[in-house]
């Protein structure tokens, strides 16, 4: 080993505390970077493989009823490479031992032709035999939630008829990577499942023999999706087509895209913040080292070492930290990635989702941290390279001080000599003070992010399921019913209040922007399923016009008062221009709302309903469930409390995992920054401090001098850090908002208090460590050494 490298190792050993602090902050950034990039790689490659192998369709469409004869015309559309026509319907399940009924989709499997698209991935068992009766394949998540195995039977109500179905297979489908009810974002596999059955039998059950009500298309490479969709819609007009859509509007595919978008934000934003802080810290530590080793540098130069060799020597300090941090960051990022993939398994249904480390990202992480620390130490290295040997061997002249600004303002009499030392030190090295303060500002800011996440999640849950949806249950009918239908629901046992709703699929257009969305008609004075504005006040439905989710208004780039073109995708398919009367606040999914009467007039209907929101007497809950189970026309049942529970279990758990990770990192950064700052201050001030000890100051008095300076910076940094944290939280909430879920920005005193506590706690700990060092100050050595 070259002597210069031996010196490097020995110097690193003496600086190990500081270098560890810098390294830990770097590790945080690298771990997030590697975790996020690897998760992106894992999800993208798993998705790409799965979609390709199981031939996930490109375009999807539902209609009321189309004859099988239409198949050849759909197949002939330019750009269509593969077509599957299917029967799709809702079913309700009567599961023994489950208090609340479950429901799901049932889809047909072709018997007279091979399946082209959305091939099932069988986990167990087999597909139904051709011509068999009552054999079904069920989705793996649902099977797992209930412990179903091939050979088990399950009782279901399909289109009003009770059937006992025999489970022959358990499968996954690329259509249902996220297996949730239409319009819902979280899986609830105990209460929702996907079923597959032979086509003939299912068509018979839905009275669709010789016809289909659902079609999926595979497109040729380079096909014009928009043109294909337009042609499909044109052909399906007479058959009640509900408007074709591509993967971008497919609920499961879309949600997967949104998750990836969120990961991309994490992959950039967090490493950027952490690596910048690490660069500041490296810079401060190495600048100090170069100053301390002024004479050694001069000697090396006198011996004939070139400035380049000396510069490289000091860069190696940073490099060792970067290499160590990259190794640790890879390990931690890998571990966190495996942890998050474990959470993903509850969310995403892939045949196989394994964590794949993204090695190019590791290379990128190494390069990013090496580059950031190189930038950080550039100043120190240049200083070392430029130092003329003769000058460097002379002791540094006494530092030049002057009265601080506060004193020039006449406040001198108010402060003690110790505090005056602190003020003047800060003023004399404004850049160093600035960077230490900047680190502290970040240390204060970062704990705000997980706090905002936590409060956002709990606000979202309360807002969604306590303020907005105050019904106990939402019942959906298998097809729209008249006023009598509402009376039937009102008469169910235990029902205390019922509020009808009418929901239709529609396409909203503003200029060239469009979005497929359900329009929900609600009573003007809805009390159960309420719409709220940003302040949580009930928004009244206008007699004309629409209320839109704020996010939907954003996607359509439409403002209140401007017109939206509504293309209803059901029944007579009316088209109407209507103004946006207002925006409402919601945090999951997006929607459009009209006054119930206005929607019925638009549809040209009488007093139709799609279902109702109900409150039910808890004492009669079981009677209610039994009655719902026996009501043939009820298609879906959503229990608000169960939804809330499943959201809490899945989404909140996923976000909670990230929140815990960021809290951990926030504490590491806070401690690292403050400890590094304290160590640098101690090293710069050790001569002064030892002098004070010699002159009779005790430990506490000496520590107060040093800590005064850091405490001053900390106090200065805290309000700025709170402001920066607020800004960062707002930025991250904004960029990570997706159609699937948008976290509200909730800033509570608790979050701020916790951030301050993290910083003060870290300061306390750092000061304690530094305080111990003050006890060990070499009183004699420091008096002999020259400045």
């Amino acid at each position: 080993m070259r002597p210069l490298d031996r010196k490097l190792l020995r110097d690193l050993t003496t600086m190990k505390g500081q270098m560890t602090a810098v390294g830990l902050v770097m590790v945080c950034g690298l771990a997030v970077m590697i975790m996020a990039h690897s998760l992106i790689l894992s999800l993208e490659s798993t998705r790409a493989g799965y979609y390709a192998r199981n031939r996930f369709a490109d375009v999807f469409v539902e209609m009321t009823r189309a004859p099988n004869a239409l198949r050849s015309r759909l197949e002939a559309i330019d750009g269509v490479q593969a077509l599957d026509t299917r029967v799709r319907g809702a079913l309700r399940l009567n599961l023994p031992g489950i208090a609340e009924p479950a429901d799901g989709f049932i889809l047909s499997l072709p018997e007279d032709r091979p399946q082209q698209l959305n091939l099932l991935h069988l986990r167990a068992g087999r597909l139904p035999e051709i011509g068999s009766r009552r054999e079904v394949v069920i989705s793996a998540a649902f099977a797992a939630a209930h412990g179903f195995r091939p050979g088990d039977t399950v009782e279901a109500t399909i289109y009003g008829a009770r059937e006992r179905l025999r489970i022959v297979g358990i499968a996954l489908s690329p259509e249902f990577v996220i297996e949730a009810r239409a319009g819902q974002i979280v899986p609830d596999p105990r209460r929702f499942g996907i079923f597959w059955m032979n086509e003939r039998e299912l068509a018979t059950a839905f009275d669709l023999l010789g016809a289909f009500n659902n079609a999926v298309f595979g497109l040729a490479p380079g096909a014009d999706t928009r043109a294909v969709i337009a042609e499909i819609d044109r052909l399906l007009v007479p058959y009640g087509g509900l408007g074709a859509y591509d993967r971008g509007e497919h609920p499961s595919a879309r949600q997967l895209d949104d998750e990836l978008a969120g990961l991309r934000v994490s992959a950039i934003a967090f490493p950027l913040i952490f690596l910048s802080i690490a660069a500041f810290m490296t810079s401060a530590a190495l600048t100090r080292l170069v100053r301390l080793q002024r004479e050694q540098i001069a000697q090396l130069k006198a011996f004939g070492y070139s400035p380049g060799e000396i510069g490289l020597h000091y860069f190696k300090f940073a490099l060792v930290v970067v290499i160590g941090a990259t190794a640790a960051g890879v390990g931690l990022g890998y571990w966190l990635g495996v942890l998050v993939v474990g959470v993903y398994h509850r969310f995403f249904n892939f045949p196989e989702l394994v964590f794949q480390p993204n090695w190019p990202a590791v290379g990128l992480a190494f390069a990013a941290s090496a580059a950031s620390s190189f930038l950080g130490v550039l100043g120190a290295i240049r200083q070392a390279m430029r130092l003329p040997p003769a000058e460097a061997m002379r002791p540094e002249p006494p530092a030049d001080f002057r009265p601080s600004a506060a004193e020039r303002l006449g406040l001198a009499r108010l402060v003690s000599p110790a505090f005056r030392m602190a003020l003047r030190n800060l003023e004399r090295k404004p850049w160093q003070a600035f960077f230490t303060a900047l680190g502290l500002v970040f240390a204060t800011a970062i704990p705000i992010l997980p706090g905002v996440m936590r409060d956002g999640i709990s606000h979202l849950i309360d807002f969604q399921w306590s303020l907005t949806q105050r019904q106990d249950v939402t019942l959906g009918l298998i097809e729209p019913a008249s006023a009598a239908g509402l009376h039937a629901l009102e008469r169910l046992p235990g029902v205390q209040a019922a509020e009808p709703f009418r929901a239709v699929p529609a396409r909203l257009r503003v200029g060239h922007r469009e979005h497929r969305v359900g329009i929900t008609g609600l009573p003007r004075e809805a009390r159960l399923s309420r719409l709220l504005d940003a302040q949580g006040r009930p928004a009244q439905l206008p007699l004309t016009g629409l209320l839109l989710s704020e996010a939907l208004a954003g996607m359509l780039d439409v403002r209140v008062g401007e017109n939206v073109r509504i293309e209803v995708q059901e029944g007579r398919r009316p088209v109407l221009e209507a103004p946006v009367a207002g925006v409402i606040t919601d945090f999951t999914g997006v929607g459009a709302y009209m006054e119930l009467g206005a929607l019925r007039r638009l549809l040209g209907e009488g007093r139709t309903i799609s279902g109702a929101h109900l409150t039910v007497d808890a004492a009669r809950w079981n009677d209610f469930l039994v009655a719902v189970g026996e009501a043939p026309r009820i298609g879906t049942m959503t229990i608000t409390a169960a939804m809330r529970q499943s959201f809490t279990d899945t989404m909140a758990q996923m976000m909670g995992t990230m929140q815990a990770i960021y809290y951990g990192f926030a504490i590491i950064v806070a401690f690292g920054v403050i400890y590094n700052g304290a160590r640098i201050a101690l090293s710069e001030r050790s001569r002064d401090l030892a002098t004070l000890r010699v002159l009779g100051f005790n430990h506490r008095e000496v520590a107060a001098v040093l800590i005064g300076e850091l405490a001053l910076l900390t106090l200065l940094a805290i309000p700025l850090g709170l402001a920066l944290g607020t800004w960062l939280a707002r930025l991250i909430v904004e960029v990570s908002a997706t159609e699937t879920v948008r976290l509200p920005l909730i800033l509570t005193a608790r979050t701020y208090a916790l951030a301050v506590l993290v910083v003060l706690g870290s300061s306390g700990l750092s000061f304690a460590v530094v305080g111990r060092r003050i006890r060990k100050l070499d009183l004699l050595g420091v008096l002999k050494a020259r400045e």
């Binding site: 530092a399 001080f401 000599p417 002159l695 005790n698």
Partner: protein, 247 residues
């Protein structure tokens, strides 16, 4: 300033310091012992000005450090006004330095971020019966420059600030380790004059370390050290005023 040479001080009966068999052993490396002090017997008296003279490594700094409570002896005993210093703990030594001892170092050790006046005030803030910083600075002839920072003062001026800082608490003992080592002759003499004046006017026991034999002429007693032992102690018939010294 007084033109007459100072009268020789008559040693009072009770010594300020009484050292018996004072020994200091440093362990540097495994099985390597350095005997910095090797059984010193010594008494120092109030109002005395003593010079410790010896080559580098003779043990004079070690002795001064132990007298000043900066270090503790390995063996032997040291009494300050009858109180045992050799058994004192860290806290007691801090209190002893705070109340009793004034230090002057070769490299001044001023706090660069404080002005001359503030450097002195640092001590007067914690001392029991201090003089005003202005008075202390006046004693060393620095009254007009007391609002300057160390970087704005010459070496001699900085050392005089260090002396003012050392005497402002009215210490019983003033310990100076090579106070002129970093200074030219002219500046060195002004610094020695300040030490001389404090010793004379305040009656402070002053011990000055030097390897410059000329300086020994201003002392009441000169203690010669070599290899950790006192080789001999000479008493000057008359103290020579510092301003008449030359080297």
């Amino acid at each position: 300033m007084n033109e007459r040479p100072p009268p020789p001080a008559a040693p009072p009966a009770e010594p300020v310091f009484r050292a018996r068999g004072l020994t200091k052993v440093y362990h540097s490396g495994i099985d390597v012992e350095v005997r910095a002090l090797n059984g010193i017997d010594l008494e120092l008296f109030a109002g005395e000005l003593v010079v410790l003279l010896g080559a580098s490594g003779s043990g004079k700094s070690t002795l001064l450090n132990i007298l000043g409570g900066l270090d503790v002896a390995t063996d032997g005993s040291l009494e300050y006004l009858g109180a045992n210093l050799s058994g004192a703990d860290e806290r007691e030594l801090t209190q002893y330095r705070r109340d009793t001892v004034g230090f002057v170092f070769q490299f001044y050790n001023l706090i660069p971020s404080l002005t001359a006046r503030e450097n002195v005030a640092l001590i007067t803030d914690i001392a029991r019966d201090p003089m005003e910083p202005e008075e202390a600075l006046g004693l060393v002839g620095l009254g007009p420059r007391m609002d300057h920072f160390p970087a704005q003062l010459s070496g001699g001026e900085q050392q005089r600030v260090a002396i003012a800082r050392a005497i402002a608490k009215r210490p019983a003992v003033l310990l100076c380790d090579e106070p002129t080592g970093a200074l030219d002759v002219k500046t060195g003499i002004t610094v020695l004059e300040a030490v001389e004046r404090v010793n004379r006017d305040l009656g402070t026991l002053a011990a000055v370390i030097t390897h410059n034999a000329v300086i020994a002429e201003m002392a009441d007693r000169v203690i010669h050290l070599s290899d950790g032992r006192i080789t001999h102690i000479e008493r000057n018939a008359a103290r020579r005023p510092a301003r008449t010294l030359a080297w």
